[in-house]
């Protein structure tokens, strides 16, 4: 064996004997520090660590963003049920965009030229779109327009 290896072996093989009682005491001190540290880690004050974990991984970041978008859209759809009830009433008065447009057009005509203008517009519409059932009169249209 080379002298270098010999001295290395000699240093490595130096024995150290440890008293078990005081060793236990030292380990209990270490354990105390460990338990304090782990208890602190589990405390609710350290909740922001979850956010740090989410933002560290791009995949979890994306999932969190998707969740937020879904939550916001769900919230806005179901936010005010009162408003939704109002919209159903409106839909009872104005059934379709075509009807809304027709009533608006008739209303403008009436304001400009009175009942004659409305009659003229109806005649023009009949000419353009073809004949309508005879039972529908201007009065009926106006009644429908006024909602009564």
């Amino acid at each position: 064996m080379r002298p270098t290896e010999d001295i290395e072996k000699r240093i490595k093989n130096v024995n150290i004997v440890i008293d078990s009682e005081s060793n236990k005491r030292v380990f209990s001190n270490i354990l105390q520090a460990f338990e304090k540290s782990t208890a602190k880690d589990l405390a609710p004050t350290d909740q922001p660590n979850i956010w740090r974990m989410i933002f560290r991984n791009p995949l979890t970041k994306l999932a969190a963003a998707a969740m937020i978008i879904v939550a916001i859209s769900f919230f806005t759809v179901h936010q005010d049920p009162g408003e939704q009830a109002d919209t159903t009433i409106v839909s009872k008065v104005t059934k379709s965009p075509a009807e809304m447009q027709a009533t608006l057009s008739l209303s403008i005509s009436y304001r400009r030229g009175g009942i004659e203008a409305v009659d003229r517009q109806c005649q023009k519409a009949i000419e353009m779109l073809g004949p309508r059932p005879a039972e529908i009169t201007i009065q009926q249209i106006l009644t429908e327009f006024n909602g009564t």
Binding site: T4, I7, R10, V14, N15, I16, I18, S22, V26, I30
Partner: protein
């Protein structure tokens, strides 16, 4: 190495068993390292306990980049160096005529039954320059590579190797001369 990674993983999840295994695995080497660097068993015990307490406090966020033994050995070496500087400062103060601040408290229980072999080696080590002593103990007890020791001592790998070899030669001559007497 893999075993250490697994132990650290369990340790970070609050396993007492993992902490106990780490302590049992590296305690002796770290104690020998500290005792050789400081030439004082009581101080060595204090330092090893402090290092393990610091390590235990990092549970949950400890990240291992190199070897665990190397990490713990570096902690012990840094603390030992600080304590040596402190002791040197106290000695200088005493020589300058300032009253040393002494504690009335007794040293903690000696849990090391200081064997004759360890005492002889410590005495021989104490005659080496601190850098050589550190290079030898970190390599043999801390299991650190010369490159890592070089980083710790802020010198090149060649200087570390040279310190190690010179230290061993000197140590051999000291120990052999004692045997011949």
């Amino acid at each position: 190495m893999l075993d250490d990674k697994l132990l650290i993983w369990k340790f970070n999840r609050g396993s007492i068993n993992a902490l106990s295994r780490i302590y049992e695995k590296y305690r002796n080497d770290l104690l020998r390292l500290a005792a050789t660097l400081l030439n004082d068993i009581g101080d060595a015990e204090d330092i090893v306990q402090d290092v393990f307490i610091g390590f235990a406090q990092s549970a949950g966020r400890f990240q291992l980049t190199g070897s665990l033994k190397g990490y713990l050995a570096t902690c012990v070496a840094n603390r030992a160096r600080n304590r040596n500087i402190e002791a040197h400062r106290r000695k200088t103060d005493r020589l300058n005529g300032n009253d040393p601040v002494t504690s009335n408290l007794e040293k903690p229980d000696k849990r090391l039954m200081n064997g004759e072999e360890l005492r002889q080696l410590n005495n021989a080590m104490a005659q080496l320059p601190y850098e050589q002593r550190e290079a030898i103990t970190l390599h043999l007890y801390g299991g650190m590579k010369f490159r890592e020791i070089g980083v710790l001592q802020k010198v090149s790998i060649k200087t570390t190797q040279s310190r190690y070899r010179c230290g061993l030669d000197r140590l051999r001559s000291i120990l052999n001369s004692k045997v011949q007497k």
